[in-house]
Amino acid sequence: MATMRRMEIAADSLYKAKLIRGFCHLYDGQEAVCVGMEASINKKDCIITAYRDHCTFLGRGGTLLEIFSELMGRQGGCSKGKGGSMHFYKKESGFYGGHGIVGAQVPLGCGLAFAQKYNKDENVTFALYGDGAANQGQLFEALNISALWDLPIILVCENNHCKDVNLFLLLDFLRLFFTLLLLWNRVLNGWLFGRWHGHC
């Protein structure tokens, strides 16, 4: 877990130095989830997640060299530099990525579970998703089908509150609050003092 934390902080510095391009979604603070999972599963169980996949990949047996090489677009990366931060895979260890579209990994994970049931494996699939993806329609579609077909899928919601408040939303909220305050002030002035025109 300590390695994962230091790795993510280092990635953050590299991103700010523009050595990592595009997107870089960090898992610091969430390390316990993937480490806890790994402690109780094996490499034939499958894991699939969205784009916050650096630590999950490390937990499945990836190396720091592969991770940083991939993040910086080098051939030595786990996807030979062709994937980037959001597209780490380690099929031989049951890690199926690494997906950029919010929520898409959930039906894909149910498909992995379907294959495990079809092959009569004794294994299960873990599909990780976040509070944002929890709104996706395809998640409910996949859940419905998984229930109908009794698939060995475990959905893990990592609620890091990313969806809740972001800076722009906060600014909008503040702007709205102050506009309403001003409007209330004008109305109050107008009613109390008959000052409906101009402002004092």
Binding site: C46, I48, C78, S79, K80, K82, G83, H87, Y89, K90, K91, Y96, G97, G98, H99, G100, I101, A104, V106, P107, L108, G109, C110, G111, L112, A113, F114, A115, Q116, Y118, N119, G137, Q138, F140, E141, A142, N144, I145, L148, W149
Partner: protein, 372 residues
Amino acid sequence: MWGIVGQRACRHGSSAMSLQVTRPVIHALRSFSTAAKEMTVRDALNSAIDEEMSADPKVFLMGEEVGEYQGAYKITKGLLEKYGPDRVLDTPITEAGFTGIGVGAAYHGLKPIVEFMTFNFSMQAIDHIINSAAKSNYMSAGQISVPIVFRGPNGAAAGVGAQHSQCYAPWFASCPGLKVLAPYSSEDARGLMKAAIRDPDPVVFLENELLYGESFPVSAEVLDSSFCLPIGKAKIEREGKDVTITAFSKMVGYALKAAEILSKEGISAEVINLRSIRPLDRATINNSVRKTNRLVTVEEGFPQHGIGAEICASVVEDSFEYLDAAIERIAGADVPMPYAANLERLAVPQVEDIVRAAKRTCYRSSSLAATA
């Protein structure tokens, strides 16, 4: 070629002209007298899927109504009884969900055949077709292979209106990582479906509802369970020397009829059945244009950014000096498909449109601008 033999054999010669036309056909029939079995496109698809499911236990089928209802268009008839509910799965009406599940199963090594009731509904699932299936092999640097087939009827049916009539060939064919096939005859349907199921990459298989019931002669070779057609190879349905006409799916039939009409007017048209939209057989198309020096592309879909546009670009890039006339592009009208029968007829290419375009390339009639 077999389609032509079938069509000509049905015509009764009544004039000297048609006797001359049918004489080579009778000769051909005598040579191939053992290969006279006919098969509908529906049966061709059904038998191909059946044989591949029998040969490889990893192949399974999923889609709406594919099982108990025997298939919305009866393409998957009898397969549920034969292979059971573990391998033929009826899904709820959830394209995004079940397509994702199909792609995930393919990630793990199974070989799903996902049916869309029509490709109009593939738009619900297009993120999984493009982002989850097509791009994964590249993004994972070869680790993840996605041996999945997306199949279903594509293009205009009859009177189903704007939301149920679009041709999706150009959309899928523009995406690297996908293979896009469009069969015409029963031989195409059998051979290409088998190739698609055996292929380790995602394949979009564009059928045509109006062709399902059409019968074509099939040889013993086609009926054999090992029969397979190569992906990326077009077929010259009719040889000619004056103008090349490219087409795919239902339009191949129209192009062949147009070629017949043109031959009576002294224009010998070469008809190419594309079979494979991606990869496009640029070599066959260019070799043909280098021979005939004129080109008419035919497709049912919208004209802008269509298959014809890509073929035109390919020929201009590779065979510009060989062209003796401007390339003619015949496509559907640039409007959402209307419902009224007379408007619908105007919105899709007709045989006369292909004939007129071919004549224009041969300078046999004045250009569009002059007649407008």
